[in-house]
Symmetry: C2
Subunit: 345 residues, 2 copies
């Protein structure tokens, strides 16, 4: 086909001009926008920016093709507040009255008896096996659809004890910026949580822009069945299929993702293997650990790490020393974040 | 900012013209391109096209938001040839000599002894528990990285017994077109296979454009460990974590995807629950079953279903009758596909 010359010139001129306009818009935009405004300038912020440049610039020797750009984030204590109890713990406690109403024989059985008493000090002292019993009892027996609906209803009205806000507002703004920055640079962002996979999937899309299929977590068993109307459903069973903590995080990553992450973010020793596994791959790798050292704006339960005003918390000093030795970047909430929550000014 | 008039006119005129050019290109393109050229005209092809229109047209009462557009495909017999043996079976048989070289004590133990004899009739008669032993022995003991590399090497040189071509060329062209058509319309396409998840992940991206994280399959256990150089690795264990067949397919979908699919494709009774579960959701749903009734171009091992020239195969007639009763669309290879493989003219 021959295109008449004036039209051809017009057409190609048009496309050329559009490309020019687009090019200048992009350039101007990228020069004026800081993708991490809640981060203070320093080596920690720089480590994130350098990693993104090294892995996404096609001229870089450490370039990573888009398909392999996988980033994994622990949730409790890494993306949102986990004190005084991980949010799912509050959810499970809230389910006990309804559970006992349905099964009155549990009224005088531990740990349900203590939970019903409302005695916070006693609840905080429940032994691990009682807590497991509580998790199993409150997270099973319903269909996956019913569970999703229960969690959604609870999240809409529950408020955290300190800020009196919905739990989903207690995400760390600087980490939200990292998630978005990585995603804007072609990374597929995953949550890899010790919490329940089904629990986190209910709100991950709305809260982090991370869809349910990109949430790896502790998995309970499910059984395929049919409801009273003959509709196929899945029933949640009191059985643990995957404990997504420690080495279980790497197993979960293999089950659901099937690739070694290029970047990983955690905060507790439960994230050690995920960070090791990530850092153990070839090329540029980013492994980061959120250190809780800000009692004023959030909580301080990490080790002091030479900061004189931080009291030793629940995590061992040795863990953070190992992190630094392994080339992981330790993020100080106090020093590196100029804002913790989006609701702050 | 005030833009000088001539430049402003030029700029807006340019954008307007670009939009017009783009609009006409898209219109012309969509009018002239059939997304399913290997499908014969008929109710089966129409069912696919109607489903896509109903779920992607924002004015349709059955519109499905992009995030929820999940389509799942069984692999063996649905996306590629599964006769005379599923490809992974050939792989496992090929590994026996190396396995026995490493563990000579297996030489006189069944099923390894029979496999080493090369007696095809005897191999075909091995009981199920011997086959399981064979799968466990050849699919475990190595790191996940080593396994990936072994499978890749094997696929590069292995040829199927009938067409003498790489197995990855034996995918059904009409199904490749469905995968692409759905993907072009915002669907996330998943493989949900009874075969090994790790096995299929090796070639899914190159063969179907489906990345490893969108492959659900039978899962073996893995153990987190370190190799001789201290590099963190995963070791494949002789332990089945998920048998991704029958109700296991729905469990696997829940573990990895966490959403009910909107479209599902299968061929054997092993796909029944996945198709039921898919069809059991609200709104427009597509459930399709590939019927193998074409001995000339592929194989005939489905039931006759009233086609006088097809011999009853290995799948029960009652299964296909149930499929039709449930509103699943049965695809006849012989009648509905004008081309089976891409390598045919």
């Amino acid at each position: 086909m021959t295109i008449r010359l004036p039209f051809r010139r017009f057409l190609f001129g048009t496309i050329y001009t559009s490309i020019l306009v687009l090019f200048f818009s992009v350039t101007v935009f990228s020069q004026t926008t800081d993708p991490l405004p809640s981060w203070n300038t320093g080596p920690e912020k720089q480590a994130i920016v350098d990693f993104v440049h090294a892995t996404t610039d096609s001229a870089s020797p450490q370039f990573v093709p888009i398909a392999e750009r996988i980033a994994t984030f622990d949730q409790d204590g890494t993306l949102w507040v986990e004190q005084p109890l991980a949010t799912q713990g509050f959810y499970c406690l809230s389910r006990v009255p309804a559970l006992v109403a349905a099964k009155p024989e549990l009224k005088d059985v531990e740990p349900f008896k203590t939970v019903l008493s409302g005695d916070r000090a006693a609840i905080a002292k429940l032994p691990m096996q009682d807590l497991e019993k509580l998790l199993m009892a409150t997270l099973s027996g319903m269909t996956t659809d019913q569970f999703r609906s229960d969690v959604k209803t609870w999240l809409a009205s529950a408020r955290d004890p300190r800020w009196k806000r919905p739990y989903t507002e207690l995400t760390y703004q600087p980490m939200q910026e990292v998630i978005r920055y990585l995603r804007d640079n072609g990374f597929k962002t995953y949550i890899v949580t010790g919490g329940g996979q089904d629990f986190v999937r209910v709100f991950s899309e709305q809260t982090y822009g991370i869809p349910p299929e990109q949430v790896v977590g502790s998995m309970g068993g499910v059984t395929y069945s049919h409801d009273a109307n003959g509709k196929p459903v899945l029933i949640k069973e009191p059985k643990l299929v995957l404990n997504d903590n420690l080495a279980g995080k790497v197993e979960g990553i293999h089950m659901v993702i099937g690739r070694r992450p290029v970047a990983a973010f955690g905060n507790t020793p439960g994230d050690q293997q995920m960070l090791e596994y990530t850092k153990g791959g070839d090329g540029a790798r980013l492994a980061m650990l959120v250190l809780h050292d800000d009692a004023e704006r959030e909580y301080a339960y990490g080790p002091a790490l030479g900061l004189p005003d931080v009291k030793m918390g629940t995590f061992p000093q040795a863990y953070y020393e190992m992190a630094i030795k392994n080339g992981w970047t330790v993020i100080s909430m106090k020093k590196d974040w100029n804002r913790v929550f989006a609701f702050e000014k």
